[in-house]
Amino acid sequence: MKQGTLFKYLLRLGDTALINTQRLSEWTGHGPFLEEDLALTNIALDNLGRANALLNYAGTVEGKGRTEDDLAFHRDERDFYNILLVELPNGDYANTLTKQFLLSAYEEILYRKLSTSADPVLAGIAKKSVKELTYHVRHTSSWLKRFGNGTDESRAKAQTSLNELWRYTGELFEQNDVDAELIQKNIATELHTIKSEWEKVVLEAITECGLEVPSNAFMQRGSREGKHTEHLGFMLAEMQFLPRAYPDAKW
């Protein structure tokens, strides 16, 4: 296996979870009501656990002695491989939940397939994640139903979010030579098969909510090469400030 292939793949998974956590955490204390504030931050914590496990394993696989903290706090934008969808701003609650639904539906299928990965550590992390993600899909899709079948205002907001976010969903299924090599070794999974399953789940949910699937064919991309939207830089500046400003600090 080429040097760094599995490392890059794990970074893609771990960074996505990490950046998603960072974005969701912005809702702490600002949720529409107490129970929902806790629900969203609980989802963020689930993803933090997954990010921790994946980045920890990535550091081991890399073999240069980097821990999950080194990887999270001491890398620059161009070295992050998270998908673009998770770095987008939260916007209003409909936007956050629509974004989370599109992501969770994808990750639930992805990690279910990865539970049978030939890599035992990755399979173990995946098995645990599926239980959490099943709940994330349930929670976000029931909110999408409420937005779509609620008032004209809520439906309009959910539809606007869907229209804006759709162009970031193409990237979820992009495969490159990292995938090709790992798929051959049964470590990673085919993203084309996941795409059709995801489309079915999402289409069913969207139409049940009285919403429409956006029709634009243009898909935004770039994260596979470390090219990100303008938002990631600001997020990392905030997230990495303390460890970089006080490198010897200990909890």
């Binding site: 009501f33 107490l34 129970e35 929902e36 806790l38 629900a39 609980n42 709940y135 349930r138 929670h139 029931s142």
Partner: protein
């Protein structure tokens, strides 16, 4: 205008077969949301395996005025209490 939803009482069951115990309350607009919120609020630290949520308005409760009529008569009648049987060692959850 109430924008919190209805009040629900939450009960959690530690292990299958054991009684459900009251652990708190929450606000929600419907059954599905109430159950999900109960999971997020009261199942965070391994409290148990099952949850019940009940609309607080559905609960029928005794009042403090009832204490005399409901509970006093049995308090001073020792023959009503099953305290003369010694439970053998090792028997749990009778």
């Amino acid at each position: 205008m109430d924008t919190q939803g209805s009040l629900w009482e939450v009960f959690v069951q530690k292990k299958t077969g054991q009684p459900f115990v009251h652990c708190g309350s929450l606000h929600a607009f419907d059954k599905e949301m109430a159950l999900q919120n109960a999971r997020d609020l009261y199942a965070r630290r391994g409290e148990g395996n099952a949850l019940w949520v009940v609309l607080a308005s559905e609960i029928v409760a005794s009042t403090p005025e009832d204490i005399g009529a409901f509970f006093d008569p049995s308090n001073d009648k020792v023959y009503r209490h099953p305290t003369f049987y010694e439970v053998p060692d090792g028997i749990k959850h009778i």
